[in-house]
Amino acid sequence: MRQAVPLTITFLVGLLLIVAVFIPPLKDLERTFTLFFDIIAVFAFFLGGGNLLRVHFNKLRNKKPDWGYSIVTIVGFTWMLIVGLLKIGNPGNIASAVDAPGSLFYQTFHTVLVPLSSTMYSLLAFFVASASYRAFRAKNREATLLLIAAFIILLGRTPFGMMVSGWIPDSFSLLQIPNLAVWIMNSPNLAGQRAIMIGIGLGVISMSLRLILGIERSHLGGDKA
């Protein structure tokens, strides 16, 4: 009983949505089920948010290491939640956008979240350098191809690409670094991306079928074996 009902639900819902693509009257079923998903996800927030608070309160109560920082999380969370739910400082009425300019929700977003996320995002510039230092090594044939392709594209992005290969005559202009870089992006890169995507398309079909038919159930009740 514990496994039969969930597996039946998955089977019926999955099959219905696949068939709905081919039956016009059911076409907006897709939008309805996506909306159902969003509603369930909001309920899950109680579990998620509750867990976040509980973890940090425990850390605080039992004075685990770095308990001080849990205060920062709890204060930040409660502040933003109150300011957001009660729309404090929001110029409009209850129906106005939660992040309407002027509201404290909007101010906190722009003072705290925007600088933090754009700075985290910019860490990529550093990690791209350290990753290429470590990864682009001519260890074997595949790694050498990886190295050469990356090097040509990088060189093509600087003026030195043209300076180094400017001497190549026009009838062989494909071998000029900037043109070669564009060519690599337009053919081997395109071919590789396509092969991967064709594989993904098939992988999703096989995975979806396994889930719908209940062959893959490790997330629902584990295998009988």
Binding site: L47, L52, G203, I215, L220
Partner: protein, 420 residues
């Protein structure tokens, strides 16, 4: 590569089939036209000298294969447009619903010849008139179209090829799943990343450091997150056997709930239900980079021996992989977002590329039925290879040697594998 105008070469079955189809279409158009050509008694020709001609053969048709929500209007633009400096400023579309007086629906630029009216309801009747607007803003109305009730078609035949392909591939997957049941040993090529799981988890036990599992940053509405959770089921089973510690910060509350359920079941089937605790999985935040900042903090402080990065990743993939590498962890990554694969290939020890992420749980289960589905996927690849071969050959021969037959095959294949 503009395609030269095709002259039909030798007659053949394909081309006869095309002719038949063309005939059928032709008949249905003329049939539709019949309704329009009914004697138009209501319109009195405009009395002043007709300087600007109204649009002609105005046809309103129900949009095929929809839930009765659209009417397609088409007409032949006014002949005055072809004059030297054409006096036509544009077109106006009038519509009357259930016989009520006409209202202006829309105004179009000159040269337009069709219009899709999307806000129609299937149980009322619509009739349309199109007017040419002259430069002096005077209007010249066409004949009214026959009253039309949008129909509901229950089967969308435009998608019949899509249905066919889906049937063939799913059939192959299901066929090999069923035939594999009789326990015939199935060969599956080695996937390095998956073979490395056992000793990666073993390493965590030896070093007494936790295993970190990151299921991507998308919610349960992404099929890659589901793939990550099915792999989690297998990995958690191994972790329970090796008595290692697992820690799983997640970016979505739903994923937290599902992950706890998966790990709990894995520990039960491994015979160690007591070792499981809900604190193995904890929700952090839905914000992409807030989650990355927290996970980086966990990596640097807990110094995990093994890191799994499986699921849907976006720009933050390299931040996680590089930080994981800096703490000396063995990293097994996998995603079906081609844009992030280069970063995992560069920064991680093993990477599951696209399809391998979806095949992982079947591969790890070793169950004949699950492995059968992999063979079904290979059938899909075989079909893709054959179709590409035929498609390329036919377009090459059609293009290089002007052979009509191959032109027909190429167009036919392109229509089957089109994205409508």
């Amino acid at each position: 590569m503009t395609r030269p105008s095709d002259s039909f070469g030798c007659p053949s079955a394909v081309r006869i089939a095309l002719l038949v189809i063309a005939a059928v279409i032709g008949i249905s158009i003329t049939a539709a036209a019949q309704t329009e050509a009914a004697p138009a008694d209501s319109v009195i020709a405009d009395t002043t000298a007709v300087r600007v001609a109204p649009p002609t053969s105005v046809v309103a048709e129900d949009h095929k294969y929809d839930a009765g929500g659209e009417v397609d209007l088409s007409w032949v633009p006014s002949i005055s447009e072809s004059l030297q400096n054409s006096p036509v400023l544009g077109y106006r579309i009038y519509r009357s619903v259930n016989g009520n007086p006409e209202i202006l629906l829309d105004e179009l630029l000159p040269g337009e010849a069709e219009y899709e009216d999307k806000d129609v309801v299937k149980d009322s009747v619509y009739s349309y008139r199109v007017a040419t607007i002259a430069t002096d803003r005077s209007e010249y109305l066409s004949i009214t179209t026959q009253p039309l009730q949008p129909q509901v078609e229950n089967i969308d035949f435009n998608k019949s090829y899509l249905f066919l392909i889906a049937l063939v591939i799913s059939g192959a997957v299901i066929y090999f799943v069923e035939t594999a049941k009789r326990g015939k040993k199935l060969f599956v090529r080695r996937i390095a990343g998956l073979e490395a799981i056992d000793d990666a988890v073993g390493r965590a036990t030896e070093m007494g450091r936790p295993v970190l599992f990151i299921p991507g940053i998308n919610d349960m509405d992404d099929v890659q997150t589901l793939a990550a959770l099915t792999i989690l089921g297998r990995v958690a089973h191994t972790i329970a056997d090796f008595d290692s510690k697992i820690f799983m910060p997640v970016s979505r509350s739903l994923v937290m709930t599902a992950a706890r359920e998966t790990i709990k079941n894995a520990y039960q089937t491994a015979g160690r239900p007591d070792a499981y605790s809900d604190d193995m999985v904890s929700y952090v935040t839905d914000e992409q980079f807030g989650y990355v900042a927290a996970v980086d903090g966990v990596m640097v402080r807990e110094r995990p021996a093994t890191v799994f990065l499986l699921g849907a990743f976006f720009a933050e993939s390299l931040i996680l992989a590089e930080t994981g590498n800096s703490v000396g962890a063995i990293q097994i990554a996998g995603t079906a977002r081609p844009a992030q694969l280069p970063f995992f290939i560069a920064a991680c020890d093993f990477t599951l590329i696209g399809e391998e992420l979806f095949a992982a749980s079947a591969y790890l289960s070793g169950e004949p039925r699950q492995l059968g589905s992999l063979k079904g996927q290979d059938v899909g690849k075989f079909i893709a290879m054959v179709v590409i071969l035929v498609g390329v050959l036919s377009v090459t021969l059609a293009e290089a040697y002007q052979i009509g037959l191959f032109e027909g095959i190429f167009n036919w294949l392109s229509r089957i594998f089109s994205s409508n």
